[in-house]
């Protein structure tokens, strides 16, 4: 990670924002000014071969971020650079090339595979679309991929409903790796799976990364999972990025009070630790993104909020090399006391 600054980022996101109209229907766009601010002015970079974790609670905009990068929805503002090129200025041809290099893994292993296509057709679809190889070569490659993700290549002609949730997720992974992409956006890839299957899939993702050098944007709500797989982690709250750092620092010296409370809220499967550790339990619910609080968006639930927090938006500034945090009081925190002491 030390030479990070010398490398060129694979993906660079600058001041990305995404708003949705609050009402839908015929006249909504014309007459309604109310918008849901799903993602608000976030910036980050992903370097080749690394895993960048994006963590936050439901409605914080983490999935929208992934989908906007993938151009499944258009951003309202901000820029996305892939391999140094502005995605918005790419030609149709370049966009198609970009899609070869950037793949997606979905959360729901049931909804993400077309039930009327065989496993073979599903996994080879990216190759078919991009015209890679002959039919025979593609079939050969699908068999290889199925083997790599731990499925029986003989099952190439079976349909998704004949597989369990974990196995379907493996199919989704095989499809994502079919074109050997440089970046895969994983949107909650394990949250629909049981614990024992989740561990299988996490291990598989790690293994494949080591093999192909793919970078991941790993989106999840589960802090332990994100920590396990990520090199660097970003925390989002209500459309804003509140903290970014390498995994070790984020989990040992979280600066932002939201990160601290998130970490302390995760129940640890160890009664001894659970009984003794200090916990910050946040009051109330996250506010609606339709009407986000002024100033710092977290101030309504923040245990250390002061007057300035409701007035001024805190700057997203570097508190240590590679560690950024958006909080007016980021530095003077008694951080050590609240982190989980193993």
């Amino acid at each position: 990670m030390a030479d990070k600054n010398e490398r060129t980022p694979l993906l660079k996101v600058e001041h990305l924002s995404k708003e949705f109209p609050a009402e839908s229907g015929m006249f909504a766009k014309r007459f309604s000014k109310r918008v849901v601010s799903a993602v608000n002015d976030i910036s980050f970079e992903i370097y080749p071969g690394e895993t960048f974790g994006l963590v936050g609670e439901s409605g914080c905009g983490k999935s929208t971020t992934g989908r906007t990068i993938m151009r499944l929805t258009q951003p309202t503002a901000g820029k996305v650079f892939f391999q140094g090129k502005d995605v918005a200025e790419m030609s149709k041809h370049e966009i198609k090339d970009m899609r070869r290099e950037m793949q997606f893994i979905f959360q729901d292993p049931y909804a993400s595979l077309n039930p009327r296509m065989t496993i073979g057709e599903i996994v080879s679809e990216p190759m078919t679309i991009h015209g890679v190889g002959t039919k025979e070569e593609r079939i050969e490659r699908v068999r290889e991929l199925l083997d790599v993700v731990g499925l029986n290549p003989e099952h190439i002609n079976r349909y998704p409903h004949e597989f369990s949730g974990g196995q379907r997720q493996r199919v989704g992974i095989a499809r994502a790796f079919a074109l050997k992409p440089k970046l895969i956006i994983c949107d909650e890839p394990v949250s629909a799976l049981d614990v024992s299957i989740q561990a299988q899939v996490l291990n598989l993702l790690k293994e494949l990364q080591d093999k192909f050098g793919t970078a991941y944007l790993f989106i999840a709500h589960d802090l332990s999972v994100v920590q396990h797989i990520s090199d660097r982690v970003a925390v989002m709250y209500l459309g804003k990025m509140v903290e970014v750092s390498d995994w070790k620092t984020l989990y040992s010296e979280p600066h932002h009070p939201y990160t601290q409370s998130l970490l302390s809220a995760v129940p640890v499967p160890d009664p001894d630790i659970q009984k003794t550790r200090k916990r910050i339990i946040l009051a109330g619910d996250p506010p609606s993104p339709l009407d986000p609080p002024t100033g710092c968006r977290f101030h309504t639930r923040c245990p250390i909020a002061q007057g300035i927090c409701s007035e001024k938006l805190p700057e997203f500034k570097e508190v240590a090399p590679g560690h950024c945090c958006a909080c007016h009081f980021a530095e003077p925190f008694p951080i050590k006391e609240s982190h989980i002491d193993l």
């Binding site: 899609r99 950037m102 729901d108 077309n114 296509m117 679809e125 003989e154 002609n157 079976r158």
Partner: protein, 311 residues
């Protein structure tokens, strides 16, 4: 039992364990299997097949056995008219001495052809309209769906009668009238099916891969939304048969003496008390055939429901 076995075998096949390549089951294949298990649907299918076969082969055996369905012999009419069901005339005879069974059999030709042709016309128009509205949305959606609303706001039979009045009577015009006016409900069903399928992650997955629109429609959206149309069209055949009967009853259907179930009921109306079989027999034919299509439609709906698989 075989299904269970292969499923558990599936489960037991750990992630990588090599097992003999088992025969794969397509969703359509599975649906057919499930349909076969549904007794009511099987009864419906059998009845439809019987009616079709009887109607198609009627020239070979029904005519020689029971006489012409249309011609009446004025010389013998006094003895042969309004006979109650007997060995010679299982369904009895009508006021002109024609055998009712043979008329019901030939009437099936009219009813079935109207049901199928009219539904085919509605389905084609409905699919195109529904697809435009569902895929493209926006202004297309608004225009097409408001048109459909207007069509649906008129009393259906009245609308058909009005149309027949304009284009004239006759079998072909009955197809056209019922067919053209039936598209809005099919368009609606197809549109909502498309909108549901569009929400699925695999459509996004295809888009993320860079698949062109045409491929997404043909490979992903259409195969997954067509099931609801199959179900709806099946039930619609029954509905079209009913509409044809209503038209014939009102004297707006096929031109006599061609027998049609609706016109036979109309003929029997005045003999309701003296010769009730004149109404009951074609009435039973309508009832059983429409019911058969409804049962088949119900069965198809259950059989094609993919969600039930995941339970």
């Amino acid at each position: 039992m075989q299904e269970t076995d292969s499923q558990s075998q599936e489960q037991a096949t750990a992630t990588k364990a090599a097992s003999a390549p088992a025969k794969s089951r397509t969703l359509w294949g599975d649906a057919f299997k499930r349909l076969r298990k549904n007794k009511l649907a099987v009864i419906g299918v059998c009845w439809i097949i019987i009616v079709v076969v009887v109607a198609l082969t009627a020239d070979l055996w029904a005519k020689p056995w029971l006489g012409s369905p249309t011609a009446s012999d004025s010389t013998t009419m006094a003895e042969t008219s309004l006979l109650a069901p007997c060995a010679e005339h299982p369904f009895g005879t009508d006021s002109l001495g024609r055998d009712i069974l043979v008329r019901v059999i030939y009437g099936a030709r009219v009813s079935l052809s109207v049901g199928i042709m009219a539904t085919a016309i509605s389905t084609v128009i409905g699919l195109v309209m529904g697809a435009l509205a569902g895929f493209y949305g926006g202004i297309w959606d608004t225009i097409i769906m408001r048109c459909a609303d207007i069509f649906l706001a008129f009393p259906y039979v009245l609308f058909v009668v009005a149309m027949i009045a304009v284009i004239g009577r006759g079998l072909q015009n009955v197809f056209i009238a019922i067919g053209i006016l039936g598209w809005p409900s099919i368009a609606r069903v197809f549109r909502s099916a498309i909108l549901t399928v569009k929400e699925n992650d695999y459509v996004d997955a295809a888009r993320a891969m860079g698949a062109p629109d045409a491929r997404i429609v043909v490979r992903h959206i259409f195969p997954n939304s067509v099931a609801s149309i199959v179900v709806y069209a099946t039930m619609n055949i029954g509905g079209a048969i009913l509409t044809e009967s209503a038209l014939s009853f009102l004297g707006m259907g096929v031109i006599p003496p061609t027998p049609s179930w609706g016109s036979m009921i109309q003929d029997g109306q005045q003999y309701l008390l003296t010769a009730p079989w004149m109404m009951i027999m074609p009435g039973l034919a309508i009832l059983s055939t429409v019911l058969a299509f409804t049962l088949l439609g119900d069965g198809l709906r259950d059989a094609l429901d993919v969600k039930m698989k995941d339970a």
